[in-house]
Structures are given as structure tokens and as C-alpha cells.
């Protein structure tokens, strides 16, 4: 017990330490601490270590700006709200099309053969290359952004739900048939439970791609959205605001992946854990 908790502590301590060193080093670069410190030794060459605020915002400035934008002016919330809305709607559409389509395509052999090359091609293509087309079709508003997110998210969902059915151990299907289960019962009692881990893995991948979708879909936008905010701040050299935007996406990404991990852990209790926890 003692040893275990020590090891758990060691991870936290070393991680926090590294993060602290990184932040201090960064702060020092932005504020010219290191330049001042090394001036006597290096002379003017030390000024390489003094980075202008246009290129690098200091962590303290970012924190202050984040506090302002979140809790004083509150200006980030509309951006965050709209991006979250795009993400959720995009996910719901991608899942409600991708999962049934993938499962059905996986269930029937010929259908599966028909969709395999399409899935492979779709998977090999960076779908964001379609962005100019999407803009042509739908403009740069909300529908176009959601479309891009759906386009990105649906690929891993389709591929994984298709693979989920294709890789079911035939002995389980034989088992169900020998109990003369109907196709619907077979689907509900065998196919779906066996598919869940794959589906979740697909969802996990889709979430990462959905975040890409937010950022890419908002490249052309000009009003609201976290991506829009980052782009506008970037093109007007408001580096601190760029960092606040990136920080927002980092936090959102961490929260989302933690949520998926929790769900996965809950759903997969019947499976022996593959990663040793010891």
C-alpha cells in the first residue's frame, strides 16, 4: 500500500515539477529574465532569449487574459458555446448515420465487400481537403461548419462499426443460431454488445477528429467560434488571445478524452483489462 501510494505520488510530483519548470522557462523567455541573467556572460547575444510579446505571450499574461475573457468580460462564452454546439450536432449526426450504416454494412457479406474500397479511400483521404468545396456548396456559415465536422467524424465511426461486426467470433453467432434466435435478437444480444468496445474506440477517434473539424471549419468564418477567435487574434497579432483560445481547446480536449475513458471503463467491465494496472 505504502509503496503504491508513493509511486502514485511520484508521477504527480515529477509531472508537476516538469510543468512548473516549463512554465517558468517560458515566463522567463517572454519577460527577458534569461536574457538579463546571461547578459554579462554572453553580451548582446543574450538578447536571443528575449522574445517579443508579439511572438510569445507569457503564461502569466495568458492566465490574466483568460481570467478577463472568461469571468470579467465573458466574451469567450459565445465563441465556446457556438463551437460546442457545432461539435455536439456534428457528433449526433455522424453517429446516427455512421453507426447503423456501419453495422448493417458489416452484417451482410456482399454489402461489406461493396463498401470496403469506399471506406478505404475515404480513410486515406484527408477529408479537410474538401473544405473549399463545402464552402462552395454551403458558404461559411453554421451548416458548412457542421458538415465539415460530420465529414471528419463519420469516417472512424463507420469504419469501426463495420469492423465491429466483421470481427465477431463466428462461434457466438453459431451459438445464437443453435438457439434459433431471430435476426433482431441476434443483433441485440450478440452483435451489439460485441460491437460496443469497437464503437467506443471509433467515438474516441471521432472526438479527436471533431476537434480538428471545429478548428478547420472555422478557418473561413468571420463572426463567432473559438477557431474564429483564434484566427482573428492571430491575424491581428494578439498573441495572448491566440494562446487563450488554444488553452480553451486543450482543456476541452482533455475533458472530452477523460469522459470517453470513463465511459469505456464502465462499459468494458466484462472484459479482462488488457493494460496491466500494476
Amino acid at each position: 500500500m505504502l509503496r503504491e501510494s508513493y509511486l502514485a505520488c511520484e508521477r504527480g510530483i515529477l509531472g508537476a515539477l516538469a510543468m512548473a519548470v516549463f512554465l517558468v522557462a517560458w515566463e522567463g523567455l517572454a519577460r527577458g529574465w534569461w536574457a538579463d541573467l546571461l547578459q554579462p556572460a554572453l553580451g548582446t547575444a543574450a538578447n536571443v532569449l528575449r522574445i517579443r510579446p508579439i511572438f510569445l505571450a507569457s503564461p502569466s499574461a495568458i492566465a490574466e487574459m483568460a481570467f478577463q475573457m472568461y469571468f470579467v468580460t465573458g466574451e469567450i462564452w459565445p465563441h465556446l458555446g457556438l463551437s460546442a454546439f457545432e461539435f455536439v450536432v456534428g457528433f449526433l449526426i455522424a453517429a446516427s448515420i455512421g453507426i447503423p450504416l456501419g453495422l448493417v454494412a458489416g452484417r451482410y457479406r456482399l454489402l461489406s465487400y461493396a463498401v470496403e474500397p469506399l471506406l478505404a479511400a475515404l480513410n486515406a483521404t484527408p477529408q479537410v481537403a474538401l473544405l473549399p468545396l463545402v464552402v462552395l456548396w454551403m458558404g461559411t456559415g453554421l451548416p458548412a461548419r457542421i458538415f465539415i465536422i460530420v465529414l471528419l467524424m463519420i469516417v472512424p465511426i463507420l469504419i469501426n462499426s463495420h469492423a465491429a461486426v466483421r470481427t465477431i467470433d463466428p462461434k457466438w453467432l453459431r451459438l445464437a443460431r443453435s438457439f434459433s434466435a431471430s435476426e433482431w435478437r441476434l443483433f441485440r444480444t450478440i452483435v451489439l454488445p460485441a460491437a460496443v468496445p469497437f464503437l467506443l474506440a471509433g467515438v474516441r477517434l471521432a472526438i479527436g477528429r471533431g476537434m480538428i473539424g471545429i478548428v478547420v471549419g472555422e478557418i473561413y468564418g468571420s463572426a463567432v467560434g473559438v477557431g474564429v477567435m483564434i484566427n482573428q487574434a492571430g491575424s491581428t497579432f494578439q498573441t495572448t488571445r491566440v494562446f487563450v483560445g488554444i488553452l480553451t481547446i486543450v482543456v476541452a480536449g482533455l475533458v472530452l478524452s477523460e469522459v470517453v475513458r470513463r465511459i469505456e471503463r464502465r462499459v468494458e467491465v466484462w472484459r479482462p483489462s488488457t493494460s496491466a494496472d500494476s
Binding site: G15, L118, N123, P126, P132, A233, G234, S235, I246, V250
Partner: protein, 275 residues
């Protein structure tokens, strides 16, 4: 599920000659679907149901391809995009594999670097484009950076996972034969990571390609992505599709090459279970 020994393969059960083999069926149905969809696309446009301004058509795209390759106009863009991809991706491999091995080997190094990797993994690296452009300009340097950042994270994570999945019994064997740390690294750890490593390399290649595309769409002066944006601005749908197809071809080519290399390193895994 027992893996067939190579001698046993000749005893495969004979197929009735009238029925197509499973493999042939698969290829026939797959190719048939693709051809049917292309014909449908062409037909919809030819019948005037949809304006080709919106969805182009296979024949129009083919014409653009012939034009572009015939005149050689496309090569400078392909060259720029390829360099961006290769430089960033190769740098990601050169950094990612050793880094993954190191954090897999040293628990403390993993604790130190883990948070940074987790954070970078949770955020799409293309988010950093505005910063990268600020730092490195709109030329190829910013693309190298975004391609590198995109690819390096999955490669590190996959290599790390491969090292962790290494079975203790093999290391025990090596220690018993008084293997040096270097020998354990090269003869035990590294080969054991191969399946993980290639998964990471393929995933990383996808992210690298994404970096090229988004980086060029975001801000650039050349490259296939740049060509797509320009064509989009001129409502030249045919050229947009041509560009998308080039990226698709690049994706397929990279995946195929990696699969080939993987098969070479992977001869020791039972066929059929390898996929």
C-alpha cells in the same frame, strides 16, 4: 483459430469451380461498386440534373488531370506539398521513435514528459497554425512545423505503448543470457514494438497529410492545398476535385508503402492474425 503451418496450405479444401473464390468475389463487388458510383455521378451531371459547377464529374476531373500532368503545371505544387510532408514526417519519425522508446524505458522520464504529450494529444495540432505562421511565416517552414507536430505525437504514443506491451518474460530470457542494455533494447524491445510502431506510423502519416492540407489551406503561396483554395475561389470545381484526388492518392500511396515495409518486418507474425 490455429495458425496454419506453411506445409498445410497446399491442403486447402478444393473449391467448386463454378463458384467464385471469396477473394475474387470481394474484388469484383468492390470494383463494381466503385465503377457504378462513378457512372452514376457522370450520369447525374450528363442528364443535367445537377450543375457540374457544384459537383464536377469524373470525365471533367479526368480532363483536368490530363491537362495538368500534360502541361506539367501541377508538378511545382506537388513538389512543395511532398517536401512539406516528407521533411515534417521524417523529422517526426526521427524524434518520435527514440522519444517513445526512452519514455517507455524510463518510468521517471515518462512522468516528466507525460503531461506534455497528453496535452498535445488532446488538442488538434492544427490549432497551433496561427502561432506557427506567426513564428515561421507562411512559407514551407510553418508547414514543416505543423506536419511534424501532427505526426510526432501518435508516433511517440504508439512506440511507448509498444515498449510497455513488451512481455517481461522475453526480457528475463535476455537477462539470463547476460544481454547488455543495448542488446535488450535492439533485440527485444524494438522488435516487440513493431506492430504498435507501424500502427503509430500509419496514424501519424494521416496526421502529417492533414497538416499539409490544413496548413496550405490556412495560409500558403504554393502546394496542392494552395491550388485547391485558388480553384475554389474561382469556382473551378473540377480542379478542386483533382486536388482532393491527389491527396487521396498520396494517402493511399503512403499507407501502401507502410504496409509493405511492415510486412517485411512482420514475417514472424502468423498470417491472418497480423491484420
Amino acid at each position: 483459430m490455429s495458425a496454419p503451418m506453411s506445409m498445410g496450405l497446399s491442403k486447402a479444401r478444393p473449391m467448386p469451380s463454378v463458384r467464385l473464390s471469396e477473394r475474387a468475389q470481394r474484388q469484383l463487388v468492390g470494383a463494381g461498386t466503385v465503377v457504378a458510383l462513378l457512372l452514376l455521378w457522370e450520369g447525374v451531371v450528363a442528364s443535367g440534373l445537377v450543375d457540374p459547377l457544384y459537383i464536377s464529374s469524373p470525365s471533367r476531373i479526368l480532363r483536368v488531370a490530363i491537362d495538368q500532368f500534360g502541361s506539367g503545371a501541377i508538378w511545382p505544387d506537388i513538389r512543395v506539398s511532398s517536401i512539406e510532408f516528407l521533411v515534417g514526417y521524417v523529422a517526426a519519425i526521427l524524434v518520435g521513435i527514440p522519444l517513445g522508446l526512452m519514455i517507455g524505458w524510463s518510468r521517471r522520464l515518462n512522468y516528466l514528459l507525460g503531461p506534455f504529450i497528453d496535452i498535445l494529444n488532446a488538442v488538434p495540432r492544427v490549432t497551433f497554425l496561427p502561432l506557427l505562421i506567426l513564428w515561421f511565416g507562411i512559407g514551407m517552414n510553418s508547414k514543416f512545423a505543423v506536419v511534424f507536430m501532427g505526426a510526432v505525437i501518435p508516433i511517440v504514443i504508439a512506440t511507448h505503448a509498444g515498449v510497455r506491451a513488451n512481455e517481461a518474460r522475453f526480457i528475463r530470457v535476455a537477462r539470463s543470457f547476460s544481454a547488455s542494455e543495448w542488446k535488450i533494447m535492439t533485440a527485444i524491445i524494438l522488435p516487440g514494438t513493431v506492430p504498435f510502431l507501424f500502427a503509430g506510423l500509419k496514424y501519424g502519416a494521416g496526421r502529417a497529410l492533414l497538416g499539409v492540407v490544413v496548413g496550405e489551406i490556412y495560409a500558403s503561396t504554393a502546394g496542392v492545398g494552395h491550388m485547391i483554395v485558388e480553384a475554389g475561389n474561382l469556382f473551378d470545381t473540377d480542379t478542386v476535385f483533382f486536388g482532393v484526388l491527389l491527396f487521396m492518392a498520396a494517402g493511399v500511396a503512403v499507407t501502401t508503402i507502410l504496409n509493405r515495409i511492415e510486412r517485411h518486418f512482420d514475417a514472424w507474425r502468423p498470417r491472418g492474425l497480423a491484420q
